[in-house]
Amino acid sequence: MSTDSKFGDYGGQYVPEALMPAIEELGDAYERYVLENEDGFMDEFRERMADFGGRPTPLQYAEQLSARYDTDVYLKREDLVHGGAHKLNNALGQVLLAKYMGKERIIAETGAGQHGTATAMAASHLDMPCEIYMGTTDINRQRPNVFRMRLNDAQVNPVTTGRGTLKEAISETMRDWATNVEDTHYVIGSVVGPHPFPNMVRDFQAVISEEAREQIREKAGRLPDAVVSCAGGGSNTMGAFANFVQDEGVDLYAVEAGGSSLDVDEEEGVAPNSATLTTGTDGVLHGARTKILQDSDGQIVESHSISAGLDYAGVGPELSHLVEEDRVTPVNVGDDVALEAFHRLSQTEGIIPALESSHALGYLHEAHDELGDVVVVNVSGRGDKDLETVLEETDKRDLDVAPDMDLFEGVER
């Protein structure tokens, strides 16, 4: 275990013994290929992210939002990455690394299907056999993403245990890895899991802030006052923050899902939110010590968010550490505010954001007065995947900003 497997008290490697050699091997490969660019690994990664992934993504000045908030708002357009989200940055990096390591098989977990589709795309691009674990509940509510994975030639393994959602899929993927560790690489989908995953995923995602930092200097002639990014596991977050962490004048806001309420229902084992950094407590989940949503016994509670990608009871250990160090400010907005922000950006800027990203935009809306003169918001993904949810959830509420969809009523044939 290398010395920087910890971020302060957070991080570490809490995994079954059978996996220890694999993560040591991975740690070694991470150092050689990612940190030291052995065999030109990072060059190849960057080239593929350009040609296949569509990088660099623009940093766009948002005219209408800037006028409305009297603040210069710049949007980092990760929604334009191939596949529609920042997820590919990580998936492609890991699949390529697996190839360099001589692995012959890729596995990954997925909840809403964003990481699964990104991994399937990357594996197809690099000609690697790929299996994705996904809970049966998620399979049924995220069919288009299941189709996309199948189209990209990935096998999708239904996970029937528990409630059949992300947590169970992660556990099941860990089991597969523990069984097939010798020829298989597990592509974790965020800056979570045992070392070296949090570091490695961050480094693959750090291209976001590497580009954004250069772009904002060119466009605004200065560094931003604030960078705002949503946080589920925290990979787009760490990607958007990484190159600004050393810039003390740049405030970093991690916007979590406030869900419908910040309270935890111990009785039911349910937190109607995913605000781990704000309301979570220290614990060990999925291989790392970090902030988690748990009851007083230490059982993990069901989290909730209107956006599936933020709906996770843990968070990256590095974020837990940066929050403890007061370098990152954890904030959160609830389902309603995120939904309104979704509609706002769609209507006024011609960009339909992911519901995850809408949390960052919702926080911008609420706090724009306090964020300074130049703000970068990371639009981590596009919202096409969220249309059904948005329509349903909008219907339930009385949102001023939402467009009516009456036109369908007249045209049934």
């Binding site: 013994e17 050699p21 528990g162 947590k167 523990a178 989940l285 230490g298 059982q299």
Partner: protein, 284 residues
């Protein structure tokens, strides 16, 4: 020599059965443990259920879900243990977060480490050892210290992939017994003894030399022949879990009798194997 080590020493081919506490409820668990011991169990491994059992296969996962659904908690688990009066040491198998999280605010504030309150309470309730499958030796310093303080064994799992200095380190740290994982993967009953099992047995023989802590082989043991094959190859005992958990799921209230029979069968196998690896041939 700890209770657990002593039990192994006396066993002449030890049987270490596993069941999930609270499956389906605490009273049933007590009956089950008594039946296992009656059948010949030398040490009983009791699972304290955690919501994310990443090292367990589907059989045990489902037992854990049943137990949690019926309200099992760490507190109730320890009450159950304290209530149990059987003639075999009890080892608690659980995941690290429950250990890490145990205790009320005051206890935790006064504790030496976050894990001390659990170890103290476990020792008090009568737990002889801990198995934490998601705690590798590298992260175990705090728990090792607390276990030493309260005289609780800390059992490590040695996987087929464990080698070299890590293996060395683990053998040095282990107390009670070493849990030799017979194959890659997760817990679960299998029809055969895999090739990996044989390799593991081979590796046991190799590292056996310099270390006195007993070795028990688990993962997939479900038949008399498995047990016999394993102890014949030099192990001090076998661990079997899913086979017992399956019996509980299938037979409900009638489970204890079937548990006793299965324990007896495996114990016989373990014992028979021992005699093959020892000078004096003796059969049950």
């Amino acid at each position: 020599m700890s209770d657990v080590e002593a039990a192994f020493a006396e066993a002449d081919g030890a049987l270490v059965p596993y069941i999930t506490a609270g499956d389906p409820d605490a009273e049933a668990t007590k009956e089950q443990v008594r039946a296992l011991v009656a059948g010949g169990a030398d040490v009983v491994e009791l699972g304290l259920p955690f919501s994310e059992p990443i090292a367990d296969g589907s059989t045990i996962q489902e037992a854990i879900q049943r137990s949690l659904a019926n309200g099992m908690t760490p507190g109730k688990f320890l009450d159950l243990v304290a209530d149990l009066d059987v003639d075999a040491p009890l080892v608690c198998m659980t995941y690290y977060n429950l250990v890490y999280q145990y205790g009320d605010e005051e206890t935790r504030a006064n504790a030496e480490s976050p894990v001390e309150p659990f170890v103290a309470a476990a020792a008090e309730a009568g737990i002889s050892g801990l198995i934490i499958p998601d705690l590798p030796v590298e992260e175990s310093a705090e728990l090792r210290a607390a276990c030493d303080e309260y005289g609780v064994d800390l059992v490590f799992v040695v996987a087929p992939t464990t080698e070299g200095s890590r293996l060395q380190n683990m053998l040095e740290q282990a107390t009670g017994f070493v849990y030799v994982q017979a194959r890659l993967g997760t817990t679960g009953a299998r029809a055969d003894v895999s090739d990996q099992t044989h390799e593991s047995l081979q590796r046991i023989a190799e590292f056996d030399a310099g270390n006195s802590v007993p070795k028990a082989v688990g993962f997939g043991v479900s038949e008399r022949e498995h047990a016999e094959e394993i102890t014949a190859a030099g192990a001090d005992g076998v661990v079997a879990g899913s086979v017992f958990v399956d019996i509980i799921a299938e037979h409900g209230d009638d489970a204890p009798e079937y548990l006793r029979q299965k324990a007896r069968e495996l114990k016989e196998g373990a014992h028979a194997g021992t005699s093959q690896s020892h000078p004096e041939p003796e059969r049950t």
